[in-house]
Amino acid sequence: MHKTPQVNEVNEFIEIASDFEDPLEVIREALSNSYDAGATQVDISIEQDAEGRNTLIIKDDGHGMDEDDLSSFFDLGNSNKDDAIGYKGHGTKIYYKSDKIRVETVTDGTRIESVMDQPWAKLNNRELPTYSIEETESDEPSRTRIEVHGFRAGQGFDPRQLTYNKIEHYIKWKTIGGSTAWHFGDDFHEMDINVELSPTIDDTQDQIETDNRLQFPPENRHPEGEFVAEEMCKHYPPRELTVTLDDGRELTIEVVGMVGGKEARNKLPTYGKHSAQFGIWLAKDHIKVERYNDAIGADNEFFHFFFIANCQDLELSANREKIRNKSGDVYQAITDELNRYMTKVCQDSWYRNYIERRKLENKQRSIQSQGSSLEERLQHTKDQGGLSPSNPAEVIAALERYSANGSPETLEIADFRLDEEVNAIVDTDEGYKNAALQAKLSDFFENETPLTHIDRFICWKLGDRDALTKIERTSYLGKPIRFDFSNNEVTYGDENKKTIPVLELADKV
């Protein structure tokens, strides 16, 4: 006996529709369908009523749908396209997350109107929704209009979040609207795209008018001026890379891209973080899917690059968000070849010159800020009336001055180590002594440095004498301590008292 596995259709519909996490994917699917239908113009409008319900309207002048096409529009996994973008029959199922779907389409003298009521509510009630079909004759040119009422928004369609900028970026980065096919003369046709949002969603501009070509900002290879690296831009022309797999299969990777500074990149509709948008994109159907920034290597920063590498041998997940065949030899071969290609780009003289120029300009900027910081320091020095040590090195300078100007004792630096607690060895009339040099004596005690090996304190000022008194009244590292400033010494310890002379330079230099 043989049995056929059963499919729970309701669950499958819910599953596929839910698989689209970002409601903006509705725009991607609409544009792909219109493109597949040969449309040269597609208009998308998104409206929101007072209750916050969204209505999507997608109109195109493509070849329209007959009854079979309409079936595959509503059916699951039953696409009648074999070499087009939507060959899986999943995309339009995102429309099921709504209160009503209405389709009006004209093809070959027939106009079909079709309505599906409450698809999402019915699916969640465990029943399959149905759709009506009404055919009439028509002499209109072919077209399609899809209305999706009460589209289940989710985060992405929240009126506070949905803006023209966001949509334009999405179109160029994630849909056929950002196609690079036109560089390669594949069977590409141009399609104008208009998107209009109701004023309640975004009233900052009239509408988006674009087409389905990803255009890089104009080249600017050798700009003149002092700070121009950010404006530099070079296009890397379309190249077809071919790789032969072990089994003899040949893959073609169509790669095109640009390198540019931030100003140049900002001419693209990025509207946000460059770190998430630039680098090396892998694409299928000339729609970008995932980035593969490893191709750039660790020596280079990926955000300078915007390259799109299209390969029809990539296999995608149902929602087109991920590449599915990453563990196979196809993906390996594609990424290997991309690594090679990007290494060439990174060794291009122009690119190296661009990176060099950025570096130089950054140095130039730091010289400028150095200049202003020096001005501040000079003002501060003038206010202080000359040397006023704030660090041990300056204390050394003060000590040298003190020694040179007839100090009563010999006191010369013999060794100095900035990072050591006992940071100096000084040559004195009594031989070499270990010394602690500090701008303020109180800083030394705040750091709770042991006194065991210290023979001398040398400081610019005593610092916070109240803080020293406080230490005196408690103890220092468990032992009594006394600061005798009239005799310039510190006495430390209980039985074996140790006396450490203190030299305060401020009033001696």
Binding site: H183, F216, E219, R221, H235, Y236, P237, P238, V256, G297, D299, D336, N339, R340, T343, K344, V345, C346, Q347, D348, S349, W350
Partner: protein, 415 residues
């Protein structure tokens, strides 16, 4: 009689013929390092473990070669006077070794390749001389040349004082000056040499090399090309894994030679072979020497190509085109499937294979240069480094900047 003729060029790479008396060497060429004297006696080809096996290949010992002629691997070999004392021999033995020139021994009488005798500067100066079981000999330029000439060489080189990347500036100058003094003394005795005299220079980049040449020229009584037949660039061994440094050193040395009018002299790169070789040929190096083929074998490594080695047990002989791997006799040896095999026999065949891999690449390169098409040279280099992730960028950089740019200035998307 010494001459060096450039017969073809492709970009900066050149193919040449080095003619010394009646021997001719096609360049680019790799001189494998051979220890002719390894502490043993003549019956054992003077011994030396794996070195001995290699000498058995060179001397057509059928028991080791399986009856095949492998002399094409040894058209020119490098040997160093410092290796004479590698095996802790007694002075008497050393004298006996030096009584005859290499080719005067019966066992080497058939060997008709070139012998390049290195002065062993690096090792000799490190040890302070030649040190055996019962002797210590201070070696200066004259003594070094005496020993070199005792070997009956085709090419000799002055005793040099190699520099080191960690040298202080003053230390480096001192070494260069000593090398220059040696070079001048060496030039004074060139009439005693029945072959080619090479001059050693040292430096990692142009300014250093400029100084090295200047110091030598100041010491010499005549122009470099009149005193010497070739230039040997030394001191690169400590940087052998830094291909960027190697390429810069060789190409700057070439530039320095051109500016001084020595571009007709062959350029030898001391102690370097392996994966950097194609890139160095591309920037104009003519000959190399190295013992890496042997050291790899001694460490149980089998070369898959210039870049990769695998443990000998993992080697796939079917994937190799070399004659060693296509001979069942050597396969059985390398797999240790024969009776009474010594380690030196197993590893000797591996060393011969490793050397064959390197020589094969240079042979390919010679053919490419002969076609005179620099684009083919670029293609060859690109193919060779295809899967070498870390190494690739240096090769691509070289191709891009010096052979054939990947992206022309005129190349534009919207042309």
């Amino acid at each position: 009689m010494v001459s060096f003729d450039v017969v073809a060029e492709a970009g900066e790479a050149r193919r040449g013929q080095l003619q010394i008396n009646d021997r001719t060497l096609e360049t680019p060429h790799l001189f494998p390092v051979i220890n002719f004297y390894g502490g043993g006696n003549e019956g054992a080809l003077f011994g030396g473990g794996v070195h001995r096996t290699i000498k058995e290949f060179l001397a057509h010992d059928n028991e080791v070669t399986g009856g095949e002629d492998y002399s094409d691997l040894f058209n020119g070999v490098m040997t160093s006077i410092s290796s004479l004392a590698d095996y802790g021999i007694r002075e008497k033995k050393l004298e006996w070794y030096l009584d005859n020139e290499i080719r005067e021994w019966e066992c080497f009488s058939d060997y008709d390749g070139m012998i390049f005798a290195d002065s062993g500067g690096y090792k000799i100066l490190k040890q302070g001389g030649l040190e055996g079981e019962d002797f210590e000999k201070d070696i200066d330029q004259d003594k070094a040349l005496d020993i070199q000439l005792d070997l009956g060489p085709d090419i000799v080189v002055n005793l040099d004082h190699p520099i080191h990347p960690d040298d202080e500036f003053e230390e480096r100058i001192e070494k260069m000056e000593q090398t220059a003094v040696n070079a001048a003394r060496f030039a004074e005795r060139r009439d005693e040499v029945d072959g080619a005299c090479y001059l050693t220079v040292h430096g990692y980049y142009e300014a250093m090399l400029e100084r090295s040449f200047d110091l030598i020229e100041d010491e010499l009584a005549e122009p470099v090309p009149e005193a010497f037949d070739g230039i040997a660039l030394g001191s690169l061994v400590p940087r052998k894994d830094n291909v960027e440094v190697l390429v810069e050193a060789v190409s700057d040395c070439k530039r320095e030679m051109q500016q001084r009018g020595y571009e007709d002299l062959p350029l030898h790169v001391l102690g370097i072979s392996g994966n950097a070789m194609p890139l160095l040929v591309a920037v104009g190096a003519d000959t190399f020497d190295s013992a890496s083929y042997l050291h790899q074998a001694i460490n149980g490594k089998y070369c898959v190509n210039l870049f990769e080695t695998v443990p000998i047990d993992d080697a796939n002989f079917d994937a190799c085109e070399c004659r060693v791997c296509n001979d069942d006799f050597h396969r059985a040896r390398m797999r240790n499937e024969m009776d009474d095999l010594y380690q030196k026999d197993i590893l000797g065949s591996v060393a011969a294979h490793n050397l064959a891999v390197q020589q094969r690449e240079l042979r390919k390169f010679r053919q490419l240069i002969a076609e005179g098409d620099k684009e083919r040279v670029a293609e060859y280099l690109e193919e060779a480094v295809k899967d070498q992730k870390g190494f690739r960028k240096f090769a691509y950089q070289l191709i891009n900047e010096r052979i054939n740019p990947y992206f022309e200035e005129t190349d534009t998307t919207y042309a």
